[in-house]
C-alpha cells in the first residue's frame, strides 16, 4: 500500500465495490444526521481521499474505550472505518514495543507532520509535573504537548480524555485533567462516555476523512449529531415520566412495568449522549432499557454529582452540623436583640410602680 494510493483504489484492490462504499456512506450520513443527498458526495470524497494517519496515545486510562471501539464481535459497517485510516501508533495493538515503539512514533510524527490525527484516551495527571503517569520515562504531560503540536486535530476519546473522568473525581490526587484543559491551539473533539458509543468515533472520523472538517460541535466540543439531545429527550420511557409513573425500587411493580427511573437516580435529563437512539451492543439496548438509570457518564464530573441512586431532584444534602451552627448564630443574634430591647423597655419605666 503506497502512501499515494487513494482509498478507492485500495478498496477496489481488496474487492470492496464502490457500491459497498456508497452503502457505507449512506449509513454514516444517516448516523451523522446529515441529509441523505450527502451520501454520494461523501462516497466520492472517501474514494479520492488518502488514508489518514492516526496516532493513538493512551494516558491515565483503563483501555475500556479502546475495547469498546474494537470489540465488534460481528464486523459492522463502522468497522470498515478502520480500513480508511492508518492507525500508525497504538501501544496495545502494535507489535513493536519499548524503544522500537518510540522510534515508530517519532517516524510517524515526522512523516505526517501537521497531517496526522491525534486520538487520546485517559486523563492527563497535571499535578507535580505529571509524574503520576509516565510512558517510557516521559510524562504524559510532555508527550501530549509535543505530539499535539503537529497534529491536524485532536480527538479526546472517553470522559477521562475529554473532562478528566473518574481519575479527576474528588479528591483527584493526581490532579487529573482533560485534554481541553491543556491543549488550546488545536481543534479538539470531545467524545465523552465511559465508554463512549463506538458509532460516534466512526462518524467523526468519516466526517473528517470525507469532508476534511470536524462535524458541528456543541459548547462542550461534542459532535452535535450525537450529543445534541439528552438521554431524557430520546428515552422511550418518557411518556411515563410525563404521567408521573415512577418506579420506586428496582423490583417493584413500576419497575416491572418499565416505568420511569427518575426516582431511582436516573441522570438522563442532564446527560447528553446517543445511547438512547444508537443503543449499545449492536442496537440491543441501553442502560435504561435494561432497567437501570443512566449514570450520566458522558457529563463532566459525573462521579461527583451526588449518588447514582440519589434522584436529580435532590440537592446535595445539607450538613446537619452546619445547620446547627447556623441556628446557634441565629439564636445568639436574636437573644442579643431581645436583651437590648428589654433594656430599652425597662428604661421607660421612669414612672415608679408601673409593672412591665
Amino acid at each position: 500500500m503506497t502512501a499515494e494510493e487513494t482509498l478507492g483504489d485500495m478498496l477496489a484492490r481488496r474487492g470492496f465495490s464502490r457500491r459497498s462504499l456508497l452503502k457505507f456512506a449512506i449509513a454514516m450520513t444517516s448516523s451523522l444526521a446529515l441529509p441523505p443527498s450527502a451520501a454520494p458526495a461523501m462516497a466520492a470524497n472517501l474514494a479520492k481521499s488518502k488514508r489518514r494517519s492516526v496516532i493513538w496515545l493512551s494516558f491515565q486510562e483503563c483501555t475500556g474505550c479502546l475495547e469498546t471501539l474494537l470489540r465488534s464481535a460481528s464486523p459492522t459497517i463502522e468497522s470498515l472505518m478502520f480500513d480508511f485510516i492508518s492507525l500508525d501508533y497504538q501501544e496495545s495493538l502494535m507489535a513493536a514495543a519499548g524503544a522500537a515503539a518510540e522510534r515508530t512514533l517519532r517516524e510517524v510524527v515526522a512523516a505526517n507532520k501537521g497531517e496526522y490525527l491525534l486520538a487520546i484516551d485517559g486523563s492527563i495527571p497535571a499535578k507535580d509535573g505529571g509524574v503520576y503517569s509516565l510512558t517510557g520515562g516521559r510524562s504524559n504531560l510532555d508527550m501530549l504537548s509535543e505530539i499535539a503540536a503537529d497534529a491536524k486535530a485532536v480527538l479526546a476519546i472517553g470522559t477521562c480524555a475529554a473532562y478528566g473522568g473518574i481519575p479527576k473525581a474528588y479528591p483527584n490526587p493526581t490532579g487529573a485533567v482533560g485534554v481541553e484543559d491543556l491543549v488550546s491551539n488545536k481543534p479538539i473533539v470531545n467524545i465523552p462516555g465511559c465508554p463512549p458509543v463506538p458509532e460516534v468515533l466512526s462518524g467523526v472520523l468519516v466526517h473528517f476523512v470525507s469532508f476534511g472538517t470536524l462535524p458541528e460541535l456543541d459548547d462542550r466540543k461534542r459532535p452535535l449529531a450525537y450529543f445534541g439531545t439528552t438521554i431524557h429527550d430520546q428515552c422511550y420511557r418518557r411518556p411515563f415520566y410525563d404521567q408521573g409513573k415512577f418506579a420506586k425500587s428496582f423490583d417493584d411493580e413500576g419497575a416491572r412495568q418499565g416505568w420511569c427511573l427518575f426516582e431511582l437516580g436516573c441522570k438522563g435529563p442532564i446527560t447528553h449522549n446517543a445511547c438512547g437512539s444508537l443503543k449499545w451492543n449492536g442496537g440491543t439496548s441501553f442502560p435504561i432499557e435494561s432497567g437501570h438509570g443512566c449514570l450520566g457518564c458522558s457529563e463532566p464530573d459525573f462521579w461527583d454529582k451526588g449518588g447514582f441512586y440519589t434522584s436529580l431532584a435532590g440537592g446535595s444534602e445539607v450538613g446537619w452540623r452546619n445547620a446547627g451552627v447556623a441556628a446557634a448564630i441565629g439564636v445568639a443574634g436574636g437573644a442579643a436583640a431581645a436583651l437590648s430591647a428589654r433594656s430599652k423597655v425597662k428604661a421607660d419605666k421612669a414612672e415608679p410602680g408601673i409593672e412591665p
Binding site: Y241, I270, D304, A313, G314, A323, L339, K346
Partner: protein, 258 residues
C-alpha cells in the same frame, strides 16, 4: 439570539462568575464542614454551595427573628381567666385554623381577596407537596414519602397559582388601601415567590431552554426565596402560627370571639 440561546450563554457566563464565587466561598467557608466541590456549571452551583448557603442563611435568619421576638419580657396576666389553661391552649390551636376561614359576614367585602389568596396558597402548597421532585427532596431530607400528583395536574395548578398571584399583584397596585399599606418588602416578597412558580412551569415544559439551565434557574429562584424568607414578609408563613396562636390563647382567657 433565541431565549434558549441566551440561557445557554447564561450557563457559560455563570461558569466564569461561579468560578470566582466558588473560590471566594471556599476560602471564607473554612469553618463550615468541607463541602464536596460541585462541578463548574450553574446547576452544580445551584444545587451545591448555593443550596447550602441558602439553607444556612434561612435557618440563621429564622432563629434570629424568632428569638428576637419570643425572648422579649412577657407581660404577666393576673386577671381571672374565663377558660382553664388547657382551654386557652385549645383556643390558640383552634384559631390557627379557624382564622383561615373568615366569618360569613365579612365575605361580601373581602371575598375577592380571600378567593385569590386561597387559590394562591392552596395552589402553591399543592405544587410544593404534590410535585414528584419536591417530594423526593423532602424524602431525602426527612425520609417521609407520600404519593405525588401527576405532572400535568401540578403544571395546571401552577398556572392557576401564577394567575392568582398576578391578580393579587394587580389588586395590590390598584386598590387604594393596599397601595397605602404596601412597602418594597411586599413586592420583593411577591417576586421571591413568583419566580419559583414561573421557573417551575418553564422547567416542566422543558422547551424554552435546556433542562439544566431551567433546573438551575428554578433552584436559584427557590434559594432567593429561602434567603429572603426570614427577613421580609415571607416570615408570615412561620409567624402566622405564633400570632394566631397568641391571639387565640389571650382571647380564650377573656372568652372573647375569635
Amino acid at each position: 439570539m433565541t431565549l434558549s440561546g441566551i440561557l445557554q450563554s447564561l450557563d457559560q457566563d455563570a461558569v466564569a462568575l461561579y468560578g470566582y464565587a466558588r473560590d471566594a466561598a471556599a476560602q471564607s467557608a473554612t469553618s463550615i464542614q468541607a463541602i464536596r466541590p460541585e462541578s463548574s456549571t450553574l446547576l452544580g452551583f445551584a444545587r451545591g454551595i448555593g443550596l447550602q448557603a441558602a439553607v444556612l442563611i434561612m435557618v440563621a435568619g429564622l432563629c434570629w427573628r424568632l428569638a428576637g421576638i419570643l425572648l422579649l419580657r412577657r407581660r404577666p396576666q393576673h386577671a381571672l381567666s374565663r377558660a382553664s389553661w388547657l382551654g386557652r391552649v385549645g383556643g390558640g390551636a383552634a384559631m390557627i385554623f379557624t382564622r383561615s376561614f373568615p366569618r360569613r359576614t365579612f365575605l361580601p367585602r373581602i371575598g375577592v381577596s380571600v378567593g385569590l389568596s386561597t387559590v394562591f396558597h392552596v395552589g402553591f402548597f399543592a405544587i410544593l407537596l404534590g410535585g414528584a421532585p419536591h417530594i423526593l427532596i423532602i424524602h431525602q431530607l426527612t425520609g417521609l414519602i407520600w404519593p405525588d400528583l401527576p405532572k400535568g395536574v401540578v403544571v395546571m395548578i401552577s398556572g392557576l397559582t401564577l394567575a392568582a398571584m398576578l391578580a393579587l399583584l394587580a389588586r395590590r397596585i390598584a386598590h387604594p388601601v393596599m397601595r397605602l399599606l404596601s412597602t418594597p418588602d411586599d413586592y420583593l416578597s411577591w417576586l421571591a415567590v413568583f419566580l419559583p412558580v414561573l421557573t417551575g412551569i418553564l422547567l416542566s415544559g422543558e422547551t424554552i431552554a435546556s433542562y439544566e439551565s431551567l433546573l438551575a434557574l428554578h433552584i436559584l429562584s427557590v434559594e432567593l426565596m429561602m434567603i429572603w424568607l426570614p427577613f421580609g414578609k415571607l416570615m408570615h408563613g412561620v409567624l402566622v402560627f405564633a400570632s394566631r396562636g397568641a391571639m387565640g390563647f389571650n382571647f380564650a382567657r377573656k372568652g372573647a370571639a375569635t
